[in-house]
Symmetry: C2
Subunit: 552 residues, 2 copies
Amino acid sequence: MSKQKIRIIPLGGLGEVGKNMTVVEWGNDAIIIDTGVMFPANDMLGVDLIIPDFRYLLERKDLTIHGILYTHGHEDHTGAAAYVVDALRGIPLYATPLTAALLEVKLRDARLTDATTINVFKPGDTLKVGPFKVESFHMTHSIPDCVGFGITTPFGIIVHSGDYKFDNTPIDGKKPDYAKLGEFAKRGVLLFMGDSTNAEKPGWTPSESVVNDAFDDIFRQAKDRIIVATFASHLSRIQQIADFAARYNRKLAIAGHSMTENVKTARRIGILNIPDERLVELGQINSIPPHELVIMATGSQGEPSAVLGRLATGQHRSLDVMAGDTIVVSAHTIPGNEETVSRTINKLFQRGADVIYDPLAPVHVSGHGSQEEMKLLISLLNPRFFLPIHGELRHLRAHKKLGMQLGIPEKNIFVVENGHVLEIDKHGMRVGERVPGGYVFVDGSGVGDVGRAVMRDREVLARDGFLMVVVNVDSDTGEVLGDPEIISRGFIYLRDADELIDGVKRTVHDVLLNTRQARNGKRRERLQESLSRMLYNETKRRPMIFSVINEN
Amino acid sequence: MSKQKIRIIPLGGLGEVGKNMTVVEWGNDAIIIDTGVMFPANDMLGVDLIIPDFRYLLERKDLTIHGILYTHGHEDHTGAAAYVVDALRGIPLYATPLTAALLEVKLRDARLTDATTINVFKPGDTLKVGPFKVESFHMTHSIPDCVGFGITTPFGIIVHSGDYKFDNTPIDGKKPDYAKLGEFAKRGVLLFMGDSTNAEKPGWTPSESVVNDAFDDIFRQAKDRIIVATFASHLSRIQQIADFAARYNRKLAIAGHSMTENVKTARRIGILNIPDERLVELGQINSIPPHELVIMATGSQGEPSAVLGRLATGQHRSLDVMAGDTIVVSAHTIPGNEETVSRTINKLFQRGADVIYDPLAPVHVSGHGSQEEMKLLISLLNPRFFLPIHGELRHLRAHKKLGMQLGIPEKNIFVVENGHVLEIDKHGMRVGERVPGGYVFVDGSGVGDVGRAVMRDREVLARDGFLMVVVNVDSDTGEVLGDPEIISRGFIYLRDADELIDGVKRTVHDVLLNTRQARNGKRRERLQESLSRMLYNETKRRPMIFSVINEN
């Protein structure tokens, strides 16, 4: 590829563009920004995870990838690290201390520690990655140690916002790096790639500190235990609750594997400041009076196997809801999870807890900037070109509208989908070819082996189940020997369906009688058609039908 | 049952209490309020509808049910009419003109016109239903002809709000019946049963008229066609759009079977005021310039088979998205539908339309009152007892809090679940026995035949599919004859899984060799266990495993 061209390729994401992974190429040199996962939509049956389709990188044998740079430690930006490192061995990672520590755990779990090295940098550091000069700058979000990147190219600076909001009173006191943003603007920003998550939300997103007031009320009023559920990665919330625990003289217990691990990691590297004497093991909480205890827990999305979900159904090993508990759901509900979150809240009420959640009290704020913050960032940077990223098409379009309001010409704003290659040269910027850039299903240990066909079958099975008959026939006369064996699941409760089973048997008998002369394949086909028709007439359902005709 | 007691029993609803159906008994006499349906949650696989479990009524042979009274024509209050009428023949229905017309269609479709009679009343009419005196009163909501009921009992008046908000500038000009509410208060309200839907929302719900401004902007700015999607039953929105069509000189077409039917019905009885010359058939829209056309369509919930869903995927028979189209999604997204609605919006953008939706513009307002309206209604009625209804436990709890703020003693507020019997006598009100009061799945033509077992099987099939082997063995030696037949769906794409299939064959061979002496059932069990273990080791998935061993 020509050294006279920069190419930018957003990859992965479930409808969200450039959320999980972005490639920046300069000739045959490249860097990658983030390697995240998405969680499957409700209708992606049986899928555990979605990772970016990075086939393109495997096929570009001529490309030298000099490093993977991470903006922050959330799963949608780091969760696919093991898959990418495994496929592209030897490429060094670059991350801030917290992000690096979280990546380390992932690589260790996947036994890939030897497959790469992690270079730790501090927000504000300038990195030399192959021929790329990359200036990191601190941005505020809902996890500490969050950065954006300014990448110097022959045609100007490309600024990638990472996930951000402008929080001037962040929990850890570390403000956005306005100075660096101003400096970029002074040097001239060629392209701005900006987080579009909240582009439909007017106004400003409140500071993380705003939830302090809500929690102060809760800690003041709660007579017994307080249980706070949030994301395992939401370390600033965990720090906040630890601070309240200290102020109100409560011990803090952590429930949930991923949160326990994250707290351990973050305390080790000094990101979380919780003294040993504040913490108590979950196994020991029964020795502490309820009003002297606060428990941080996973499960804020209503996941049935996380702590809050298990509390709701009474299935946690060592924890039970007690009358008098105040349970706080301190997290944004990810679209698609509304039903399970609501169900969890209802069940916790049923078990006697008082449940507090947004909108009953402002116990959570978004980690992403709203429209006014987006306008501020665009205004601060004053870019020539604008590429809205991190959002579905609807959000990118809304972000684009903001850019136009601020005077960026419509032709200089690019709303694209994953896999679209954006080309920049001395003449300007344009949309080039399209490469595979979607997502790949991870199901169990299989990556990409569950495709459309399997998914369609799962949909049919989920809707109406299946029915199979195995029947023995005399190979000479073609006549049925004995009763057919009927196996069915997900269709109808067979024990209560004697009439229907009689109908199946009758159909088997009739069809096989009428097709005595036909070959086995033909008989099978006819049998399945007849069964399907009969069952639809009787039940208005369309189970999958299978048959095996054994000739004896 | 004693004449000295009133019993109230909320039935049905998916977590929502008393939403779909409520029974009011006085001794052995009873009336029913509403017979609605719910739509299944995302994890209720294959279920078409949920109807109230009204087994209780079938079992109470001593009970005389004098009538079914309807509050309004929405599906969650009328949708189960055919099921209830079919089971409880001969009980007359009572409904306002629009609701009656919509019920008529349902009964006709189910060929049940002869099974009941519909008594049409006007909002404000007093009904004599058996020994019950029921005073209807008009309330505003998002459909015309909406009422609540005041039921006189020996112990005082029971007021049922129906679905309501206090809209003082409703589209049809018909305000809430404040006079009747005041009169009830003067006579003394024993019990208030109130809609809790928006109990978590502070403030007032805006009037339906508020969306006028948003639509005025849209009609003024749209250069080509306007397509407005809303609920088929949202007749006030349809009237609004028809009025705008007249003002801006556009023809109006209706797309979608249910909406077309509803418009026909509502125009016939004079509820919708749209002159013939305003309307145009969908088949004729191509003869009309795009800027002179507005189309009302179904599919505001992203349902793939409704009009908007088909437009998004390019699968509508007679309608296609054209660049320049302005598409308005003018409906609240029902919890659980967020993913499909968002996907639909993204796809419509992709096809070149400009899509407008809440929160981009206020093109929809809730039909349910917010906290201040709830406080107003409670204050207007000043009831002795309070039963929050129409909401999940979380909403009932929030409504209860409002009641307490207004001075109703906590012991006089009853938060219950469906099937709980509330008893009122001269001593007061209490929670009595519990009767079956949940919901029943409707799947195809089956009502209640899909239970937990079938649903669990569907979940497993949806997650990992199934694999079945059919193998022939020599009945004398027990040895395998030929290759086993392998059938699998939803598990893995078999054509790309040669190794796995070889593993299955090997396992079949090994197990059957080792179990030659065992009886068939035992061999089958062992085979299934071994296959399950082998497949989990290889894929980390757990498909259902079946086997048939034919002895020849």
